[in-house]
């Protein structure tokens, strides 16, 4: 009876699909990526129904006279399922074995979960297998990159590019590439590609001890995997947040690889309870910076304190404000100026004493500019812009401008080269994007608008080139989305209207 019911169920499914309404072409472009993804999903669904019905009929034909036992159907399904759903073979067999080329070839036929980016998904499967190998093979990496050129680049392809870079040891490029999926349209980015990217970024941040960065990444993600949820909770506990032990253990139980991650769980359970802070950040910023001591020594002591700050922890904004205030007091101190003038005379230095103090002030401002970069998002809280802090901001703006212009020039050169590949241009773009995002964080709105003007034209040209010359509509769309967000942020209405139109046109 089992087989009969299965066959009848398959017929009912076919009838159900036949009578269900088709999506309207007014809401779904027939040649668009979403329609192509739906067609691929329908084909695999039809293959699954056909396989189920065929197995049931074969079972009936072979052993139907013996009372229709259920086991022949189960055996046939076990054999036939990998043919219709090869991703199971790739995930559980080929990737763990490190069979790069076979995983790529089989995943190309896989269908689910790569409907939205089949070529990128197959290369991503190969990249995952490559990471499991004991040695990096540059030839295999080149072969994988060449496979990506077979079709337009989608979200899975970008993740594959990032993992290939990570496999070759270029973690910086990998981090930049994997961090750009937010602007990739969901129609060309499979959910599993996003999950893989987040998993890698989380593992990399944990390896570096960058727990603040890890918490930011996981908290920004609306659908964390069990692994990222567990590691994210561990990171928050590492940063002395109140995470109940019971919740931590439950997250660990829900996540895979429990034996391998038990060490992290124990380390977090042993982590000391959060220490009540004596001074909050705001109170620290309000404290006087002179404290009645020699202002220069006081400023240098604060400078040393900031220099000793761990690189994996963002520098608190009040610490920078306090340091800048202390240096302002030191540089305005008549004692320091008189002392420098005296030494200038004693050593017969040609430069006047005021110039020597000004050069020292510039050196201090450069250090504070570096601290502003290390403060990350926290630097947005610094509102004061006087004295040495103002000089630091000016230096930082100059550096950021030079950096962005250089990155724009590299992007333009790459685009203008004869055999410019979309993936190379995209890699240059993510470098430029990262430079821009890092540079504008501590800047004021007007400075941000100036930087935006500097790089907008080049990015717009590149987006147009990707759209027209390379038919990489997904990548061009992502760039327009980024430019739109920035145009709205700096209140550039004309540019915002232009990019809004481009984004609405879609893929």
């Amino acid at each position: 009876m089992t087989e009969t019911f299965v066959v009848l169920g398959c017929v009912a499914l076919c009838l159900g699909v036949g009578v269900s309404p088709l999506p309207s072409i007014t809401t779904l472009a027939p040649t668009g990526p979403r329609a192509r993804g739906i067609r691929r999903a329908e084909q695999q669904f039809a293959a699954a129904v056909l396989m189920l019905a065929t197995c049931a009929l074969m079972s009936l034909w072979l052993v139907g006279k013996q009372g229709e036992p259920w086991w022949p159907l189960a055996c046939l399904l076990l054999l036939a399922t990998p043919l219709v759903h090869p991703w199971l073979v790739v995930k559980w067999l080929l990737v763990p074995l490190g069979a790069v080329r076979l995983a790529t070839v089989v995943a190309r036929r896989a269908g689910h979960p790569w409907f939205r980016d089949p070529v990128g998904g197959s290369v991503l499967s190969g990249a995952l297998a490559s990471l499991r190998r004991r040695r990096h093979d540059p030839e295999t990496a080149r072969w994988l990159r060449a496979r990506l050129a077979e079709d337009q680049l989608g979200g899975a392809g970008i993740v594959a590019l990032g993992l290939i870079a990570a496999d070759s040891g270029d973690r910086d490029t990998a981090t930049k590439l994997l961090g750009t999926l937010d602007e990739i349209e969901p129609d060309i980015c499979p959910d599993i590609a996003r999950m893989i990217a987040l998993d890698w970024l989380v593992a990399d941040a944990a390896r570096r001890g960058a727990w603040h960065e890890l918490v930011d990444r996981v908290s920004d993600d609306p659908f964390p995997t069990p692994t990222t949820r567990f590691v994210g909770m561990c990171a928050r506990r590492m940063l002395a947040e109140e995470i109940p032990r019971r919740s931590l253990v439950w997250a660990w139980l829900c996540a895979p690889r429990r034996v391998a991650t038990a060490g992290l769980l124990l380390a977090c359970l042993r982590a000391p309870r959060p220490i009540a802070r004596v001074l909050e950040d705001d109170e620290l910023g309000a404290l006087p910076a002179n404290e009645g001591r020699d202002p220069v020594t006081r400023a240098m002591a604060l400078h040393a304190e900031a220099a000793a700050w761990p690189v994996t922890v963002p520098v608190p904004a009040p610490m920078i404000e306090r340091l800048a205030l202390a240096w302002d007091l030191a540089f305005n101190d008549f004692g320091l100026r008189a002392e420098v003038r005296e030494r200038v005379d004693a050593l017969a230095v040609k430069a006047p004493g005021e110039l020597v103090v000004a050069r020292m002030q510039r050196a201090v401002a450069r250090d504070i500019a570096l601290l502003l970069c290390l403060a990350g998002r926290d630097s947005e809280r610094i509102s004061a812009s006087v004295g040495v802090l103002r000089r630091a901001r000016e230096l930082q703006f100059d550096d950021a401008s030079a950096q962005i212009l250089a990155a724009c020039s590299t992007l333009a050169k790459r685009r203008r080269s004869d055999a410019a590949a979309a993936i190379d241009v995209w890699t240059e773009w993510v470098t430029l994007r990262r430079s821009y995002v890092d540079a504008v964080l501590p800047l004021s709105l007007s400075e941000r608008a100036t930087l935006y003007e500097m790089f907008e034209e080049e990015v717009r040209t590149t987006a147009a080139w990707l759209w027209n010359a390379r038919r990489e509509r997904g990548l061009a769309h992502a760039m327009c989305l980024f430019l739109l967000a920035e145009a709205e942020r700096v209140h550039d209405r004309d540019a915002a209207a232009y990019y809004r139109h481009n984004v609405v046109v879609g893929l």
């Binding site: 998993d199 944990a206 590691v231 380390a267 240098m300 400078h303």
Partner: protein, 127 residues
């Protein structure tokens, strides 16, 4: 009988961050001179240190900074001598050298430790 503790390895100043190097690469600390040292004292200290480093004199390979001891080599001594030969830069270094040095290693500020085996534990790599 308990084994004596292993001697702590002294880090080179090149391993410090850019900000910390302002203190650990101060020429007066490298040459172990006070900011009021004369030009002759500077020359003598440089020559004496290079000779001591070539001979392997105990203690010549380290100097104290506000961040604790750092490793010293002949290149570092040459760098310090060159810096102080420029009088304008010397005046600035005199100011920075005011901060007291520490003879014992300074423990870095407590930061949560990294999860070094994380990538392997999460299945990202086998090597």
């Amino acid at each position: 009988m308990a084994k004596p503790p292993a001697p702590l390895e002294i880090p080179p100043p090149a391993a410090d961050s850019t900000l910390a190097q302002r203190f650990t690469l101060d020429p007066f600390h490298i040459l172990q001179l006070s900011p009021s040292a004369t030009a002759r004292e500077l020359d003598l200290a440089g020559a004496h240190l290079i000779a001591a480093l070539e001979r392997g004199t105990p203690g010549a390979g380290r100097y104290d900074t506000p961040f604790g001891p750092r490793a010293r080599d002949p290149d570092l001594v040459d760098f310090a001598a060159d810096e102080l030969a420029n009088h304008e830069r010397r005046i600035v270094h005199e100011i920075w050298a005011r901060l007291a040095v520490r003879t014992t290693p300074v423990a870095p500020l407590a930061a949560p430790p990294p999860w070094t085996g994380g990538e392997r534990a999460l299945g990202w790599r086998r090597r």
